[in-house]
Amino acid sequence: MAVYRWRRIDPVPWAELRRPLASARVALVTSAGFYRPGIDEPFRRITGGDSSFRALPDDVDPRSLVLGQISDSFDHGPATADPNVAFPLPWLHQMAAAGEIGESAPRHLSFNGSITAPERLVRDTGPRAAQLLVEDGVDAAVLVPI
């Protein structure tokens, strides 16, 4: 890993939050590779990493999700026992109910984050994911690695 060259964002884009957080529509983006078994395609173990994503509906039960992260460089135990460590959907709902955010987005996104060759992520699947959030009227996204 010492010789790996991290990909630098330059210039760094900036989008002001369009409305106060208390009225903003917020989506979660996790890189834990969560997917719905029997509904979504599992993530694949391919060279450079699987850059695809799954859209998870806001009413999904996080405990029904499978942790699809390919990487074995971390302990899968915590996220398997408690998906909130990387996909805190119940906490987002709690904050919406309390008026801390406006509302939870209709769909949230799940990537498999062990991507060593992120070209396709940046050029293809990332922009498609962003477009999905735009179509859903999302104001802000919180991105959580694992």
Binding site: I9, D82, P88, W91, I115, L121, A130, A140, V144, I146
Partner: protein, 81 residues
Amino acid sequence: MCTQAVALLAGVMESRGIATACVALVKHVAEAVRPPRALAVPFPFGEALGPAGDAATQLRVLRAALRLLESPGPPPVLEDA
């Protein structure tokens, strides 16, 4: 790798008008990749928002990440949880 992936996604989303807040498990990766807004957390791989079962910590970190959305900038914004 996960920190780089979400950081790069944050950049893509931000360039399309969506404000983003990124949790970073590895601070030096966030410094290198430069997502627009990032919160560096002190937790090990596998539990970015805090230990399994620790709802209070997870909520605190999520709130701290959301607060970054109201940062005046300029980017990149990188704070410690």
